[in-house]
Amino acid sequence: MSIAQKPNYLDSELGIKSWLTTLDHKRIGIMYLLVICVFFIVGGSMAALIRAELLTPKGDLLTSDAYNKAFTIHGVTLVFWVLIPAVPAVLGNFCLPLMIGARDVAFPRLNLLSWYVFTIGGVFGIMAVIFGGIDTGWTFYTPYSTSFSHTSVVLAVTAVFITGFSSIMTGLNFIVTIHKMRAPGMTWFRLPLFVWANYATSLIMVLATPVIAITVFLVGLEKVAHIGIFDPALGGDPILFQHMFWFYSHPAVYIMILPPMGVISEIVACFCRKRIFGYEFVAYSSLAIAIIGFIVWAHHLFTSGLSTYSAMVFSFLTFLVAIPSAVKVFNWTATFYKGEIHFESPMYFAIGFIGLFLIGGLTGLFLASLGTDIHFQDTYFVVAHFHYVMVGSAIMGFLGGLHFWWPKITGKLYAEGLARWAAVIIFLGFNFTFFPQFILGYLGMPRRYHSYSDEFQVLHVCSSLGATVLGFGYILTFCYLLYSVKFGAKAPKNPWGAKGFEWVTDSPPPTDNFDFKPVMREEAYAYKPDYEAPEVVHERA
């Protein structure tokens, strides 16, 4: 190349130290991605162990104690260090300031601090795994966790406690950033829907995370100082733990799923070359999910002695969540109608997301109904349901977003053909893994057992084979993405022909995000000419 290249955020400063002290939201997003990958490998290998054990009806590969630890470590690591931070802390961190036309988040130092807190919490988590593991299940139910388990419960809850603060910091940062850092002309109803989704998510992070913090703090205190709040022997009530735990952990599911929903809105709009159908409804549905999500927690306690009337109220409220969720699905599909549809890899992931979310969401209704829930409680039906939402959909959305913004993040193009295959493999592998589990649950196979009766074996073998395909899909994705960083072709500014501020700046963007002063002069997703022509004012060039 004849002219020297402009420095971008990746090469403006080099060396480990420049990364560890960076205040750049884009670099912090990538640092989050690296830590998340480590935990994905830990949690994923536990899943492999679990699926290998379940190939045969006898508990032969793992002892029941080892099996308890395997699924606990699987759940804890993947929930707290992968699913919760994946989209907001990686893609949100990277894209949100770019999308609203800001140079950075409102509090860059706090942003870096959140990464350190997250990583330190992660180190505690790893220590809990090394020093004896933990066998309570990711839910830490009392009084088992406080009075009976002899594993590293204290280390694990300390890890969750610490990590919670990184979530709070990210949420706080995003809320202030979205309120105060928007470029001129970027009104609330011109915001990309990914920003709306992250706004709703941040509200949950800020309001719910402190409650899990105090809850696990009390578990730790109970374990160390015996204050008795959850201990029936001391007059305490273990059910109170369930209430407090689910007050966070139900909304936490929306921390995992709302941001991927935002990603899907971006991808669907871009690859249909069309404004999202019913933009305002989709925006408000994120807020509605966040708000209703706070008043449904007791649906996890239908079989824990909840009174009939509270159970009916919570069942009804849980059904309400279906409305805003369905609004999203209907509006995405309506966007396809008369759209100029381009089938490129992010779109594959987005369509996969819609399919998996549909199944995951609808099976949730079985569990919201009081009668059926009693049959399905603690069976593989529940396992399949929440994996469809928290893993299938959330990871599909995360990968979709990662593929969509990868050229922007790295400045490189990945192997498009392989990416399409990966999306298909992951979709099929996922369904093969978890669909049989619905049937298993329906037939009465309880969760969290390493041995089972012979009649379940066929379905378990299906599930384990599916998991192998799924694992292969993830590994394939990991390989070609990593390959593209080194050997990929250089990405243009806007490889997809997408709308939005992030696509008018360079790939990868400069440290300050824009070489010009972005001004929003059109509606969001103005793909069709009936909106004003796009315009960017170059003032700082």
């Binding site: 709070i168 850092m181 409650v211 009390l218 205190l221 007059g235």
Partner: protein, 213 residues
């Protein structure tokens, strides 16, 4: 933008001071909301167990000395006043009274912790700390009350300690930057935090010390 304002530090991510001030202010309020949720979990436990063990609560509160609690209430309320005066001095850009009032606030906060120390150590001596050695093992309500007492006041005391650190830091900053025109926003935000810590105590004092049949 006036020449004065140019001296104030503007973060690279912000366009102007107004945006910076508003961002920090909203950020602080959101932080306080998270604090409310944090203490909220414990207050919920308090309400539930008070309804479950009304007797234990009455017996439990006899272990607490309402005079010492009242003294601490007085100390914290006064410290809120000195904090407010420090913020006012900062707004008027008078660094000397500002430092004076901040130091008063820190001293009062220490006073609070000293009273708390005497209260706690008395309870350890008398074995009314939850655990195997608890003196009234026959009454689970009392033990739960004391458990919540330590959890609530311990967490509150931790917030007082953080307050001491932050207010000291802001005092040193004020002294170092005395020759410059200063931004009063940091003092104001620390003040907000301190008033929050005060308000939590205003709830804790009657809920823990002033229980009657």
């Amino acid at each position: 933008m006036s020449a004065h304002e140019q001296e104030l530090h503007l973060g690279h991510q912000f366009e102007d001071l107004k945006q910076q001030i508003e961002s920090y202010t909203i950020g602080m309020w959101i932080f306080l909301v998270t604090e409310v949720m944090f203490f909220g979990g414990l207050f919920t436990a308090y309400i539930i167990y008070r309804a479950k063990f009304p007797e234990g609560w009455v017996h439990g509160h006899h272990h607490l000395d309402w005079r010492l609690g009242g003294l601490n209430t007085l100390i914290l309320l006064t410290s809120s006043l000195t904090m407010a005066l420090a913020v006012r001095a900062a707004m008027l850009n008078k660094w000397k009274p500002q430092v004076l009032f901040l130091v008063c606030t820190v001293l009062l906060a220490f006073g609070f912790m000293i009273v708390k120390y005497f209260e706690y150590s008395k309870k350890f001596r008398e074995h009314i700390v939850p655990g195997p050695l608890f003196a009234h093992k026959d009454d689970p309500g009392q033990e739960l009350f004391m458990g919540l007492y330590f959890a609530l006041t311990g967490l509150h005391g931790f917030h007082v300690l953080i307050g001491i650190l932050v207010i000291s830091a802001i005092t040193i900053r004020t002294i170092n930057m005395r020759r410059m025109r200063q931004d009063f926003i940091p003092v104001e935000l620390v003040g907000l935090y301190w008033h929050f810590v005060d308000i939590v105590w205003i709830f804790l004092y009657p809920l823990l010390y002033l229980i009657s049949k």
